[in-house]
């Protein structure tokens, strides 16, 4: 669910983050400490990660419109539930509403910072919970242009970072960072990320495949601030440059700090999902 996502800020942390940024900028432009591009990249990623913390949990609806080269469309509708886990990766639950033949099918992920994620699939026709392999990082999620690794939690530890440059992005100024997945099973050799300097929101990500060909571009728009702190993109467009296919992902019905808790993200909870 594309925790590429929505860069979120936490009010309490804003001052600290701003001062960190100020330091970063100072060091960048005055070259006082001469931090390496890797250090700058990591620092920005850390600041982004910190801002994203503290949301607790949320539920939302995702609508995906899949388009092929000829412009034929197909729709996916699913509900997402996410629980923040302190000291580990987040827990996410995807429940499918459309297409109707997979209605009620649910997909549970316990993300981890370093080791492989744990994943379960619930098949409502058999009432079966099946633990599945999380090795399929680069596979397509529901036939869309989003892969499983795009949908999973973007934990800080899953990449190494390198600062490239600053450049204008619309009316804002963006920091451009390259990140390299640490997982050898990732489908990407690297990603290039555009984030605005004010709120650390991600506006664009370019994905390069294992042969370093420019595979996909993700554009994120319609940012909204939730809980007066966290910025989440309302609309995401993923374009595959090699196949000409694209997927538009729209987020709606965001609800934060609901009564979700750990028990909704267990195997017993998975059998209860609607």
């Amino acid at each position: 669910m594309v925790r590429i996502y929505p860069v979120r800020s936490k009010a309490l942390l804003v001052t600290r983050c701003l001062s960190l940024l100020a330091c970063l900028c100072a060091s960048l432009y005055t070259a006082a400490e001469n931090p390496t591009p890797e250090e700058i990249g990591l620092n920005i990623a850390r600041a982004t990660d910190k801002r994203a913390q503290g949301y607790g949990n949320f539920t939302a609806r995702q609508t995906m419109v899949l388009r092929n080269k000829q412009g034929q469309e197909s729709t996916r509708s699913l509900r997402v539930k996410v629980l923040e886990v302190e000291g580990d990766g987040d827990k996410s639950l995807f429940v499918f509403d459309e297409p109707r033949d997979v209605e009620g099918t649910a997909f549970l992920i316990h993300a981890h910072k370093v080791e492989a994620d744990d994943q379960w699939l619930y098949l409502p026709a058999l009432k079966r919970v099946k633990r599945i392999s999380s090795s399929n990082r680069s596979g397509s999620f529901m036939g869309s242009e989003f892969s499983y690794e795009d949908m999973g939690a973007q934990e800080l530890e899953k990449y190494t970072y390198r600062y490239l440059r600053d450049e204008a992005c619309g009316e804002l100024t963006c920091t451009v960072i390259e990140r390299v997945p640490t997982d050898r099973k990732s489908g990407y050799s690297r990603q290039v990320v555009w984030q605005d300097r004010d709120e650390l929101r991600t506006w664009k990500v370019e994905y390069y495949d294992r042969k370093d060909a420019h595979l996909k571009t993700l554009t994120m728009v319609n940012y909204e601030q939730h809980l007066d702190s966290y910025w989440y993109a309302g609309h995401m467009m993923m374009v595959n440059h090699l196949t000409g296919k694209s997927t538009d992902l729209t987020w709606s019905e965001y609800q934060f700090r609901t009564d979700l808790n750990e028990r909704d993200f267990t195997q017993t909870g998975l059998k209860r999902v609607r």
Partner: protein
């Protein structure tokens, strides 16, 4: 005969209906926070290309299936699910049947560091990890007329409580009513020379179908390992089929259900693209093929391995292999056409295209390692449009050993086409 069956069914239906009425009434006055109506309707045609072995048997089975599902939830998260099932079959009147697959009230909550869940009513329970048979899975009766693979199950009335914590998940089941297995009628294929009587069901227990069965399961995960330990004490789900006479003096096949106790183990190790699986049971009290009581051990070991994004496409290929063993050997009664699972090898491949239509092709082969019985199954699944989906399959009985009881089904290879509208 038929009247008594109808009466039994009416009584049974009344019990269910009562549950359906009582459940919502207990919720009466509670605000409905969420509801859902979904399901599918399908038309299905099955064709048996080879001439039937017994008089009366048809070369086709065609009709339609309706599976609606109703769901209501109140503001406290309590919910009620109702999922009836209807099948109409033009060839076999026994295959035309109605069932309540699910009708249960669901409550759950927290209790200190523990979570609890209670399901009351008719439900379906799945235990196990392997793909080619249901060994530890015992709560529900098999709806055998649906498909010889034994995947379809009849709804089982139960009280099902779950308690979970850091120490694992403990589930307890009380099962107050026994469902007899469904079998094909005179015009149906995949049967013995005589039709199995579904009016006079015999039980070892004096309580007959009302014997109160108990079951429990403990499950936990240890990193990449998932383990389940289960016990079942009550009426067998697999009937012993006994030869008898009708009051009119004709030969008759009667289902007989003994009291059994089964201990089960299921485990899965998830390692990268590997899933390694084990199921094992120890069962006491059931009858073997010669009709004597015999305690036995049976197991399935195997696994699956996935190749992702093969040939630089988005398609995945998964290979399966499973070995079945039953220590009764040749005395093991048949579980499913055409196998007895006494010493069999199952291999399969599934190609998932991961396209917009979710196209999947599967092929599986199951062969007896001791006898010359083996069969092939090929399937295709594809979404045709947003609401329409297609299922095509062929079961080819390549050969059945004369020593096998399934020799009677040797001409019952079939091709099936199912077109469903999902709402």
């Amino acid at each position: 005969m038929r009247a008594s069956t109808a009466l039994c069914r009416a009584a049974f239906g009344a019990v269910w209906l009562l549950a359906l009425i009582v459940a919502p009434v207990t919720c009466a006055g509670i605000e409905i926070a969420d509801y859902d109506f979904s399901g599918s309707i399908g038309i299905e045609g099955r064709w048996y290309p080879e001439a039937a072995l017994f008089p009366g048997q048809r070369d086709h089975a065609s009709g339609f299936v309706l599976e609606p599902e109703f769901y209501v939830e109140d503001s406290a998260g309590r919910s009620f699910t109702l999922a009836p099932f209807f099948r109409l079959d033009a060839a076999d009147t026994r295959r035309t049947h109605v069932d309540i697959r699910e009708a249960y009230l669901l409550l759950f909550g927290g209790l200190g560091d523990h979570d609890w869940e209670l399901r009351l009513g008719v439900d379906q329970i799945f235990w196990g990890v392997v793909e080619s048979q249901r060994l530890v899975d015992i709560i529900n009766q098999v709806d055998f007329v649906e498909h010889p693979d034994g995947t379809a199950k009849l709804g089982q009335p139960m009280a099902h409580g779950t308690l979970s914590g850091d120490w694992g998940v403990l589930e307890l089941f009380a099962l107050p009513y026994h469902r007899a297995r469904t079998f094909p009628g005179r015009r149906g294929r995949l049967r013995l020379p005589l039709v199995i009587d579904d009016d006079n069901i015999r039980y070892e227990s004096a309580a007959e179908r009302w014997h109160l069965d108990f079951a429990a399961r403990y499950s936990n995960s240890f990193g990449p390992v998932d383990v389940g330990l289960s016990v079942f004490d009550g009426t067998n789900r697999e009937p012993a089929v006994q030869l008898d006479f009708t009051p009119g003096g004709d030969l008759n096949l009667v289902q007989y259900y003994t009291q059994i106790r089964q201990f089960g183990l299921d485990a899965q190790l998830t390692l990268g693209p590997w899933l390694l699986k084990l199921e094992a049971i120890q069962r006491a009290g059931s009858l073997n093929l010669p009709g004597r009581e015999e305690n036995y051990v049976a197991t399935v070991v195997g696994g699956e391995y996935s190749f992702y994004s093969i040939f630089e496409s988005v398609a995945d290929l998964t290979l399966f292999g499973e070995w079945h063993y039953d220590d009764r050997g040749r005395d093991a009664p048949p579980s499913r056409a055409p196998g007895t699972f006494e010493n069999e090898l199952f291999t399969a491949a599934r190609l998932a295209f991961n396209d917009v239509q979710s196209t999947e092709i599967t092929a599986s082969f199951i062969g007896d390692l001791g006898r010359s019985s083996h069969s092939l199954a090929v399937g295709l699944d594809r979404r045709l449009a947003e609401n329409w989906s297609l299922h095509l399959e062929a079961i080819v009985l390549l050969g059945i050993d004369k020593e096998d009881i399934h020799y009677y089904t040797r001409r019952d290879s079939f091709i099936e086409l199912n077109l469903s509208y999902n709402f």
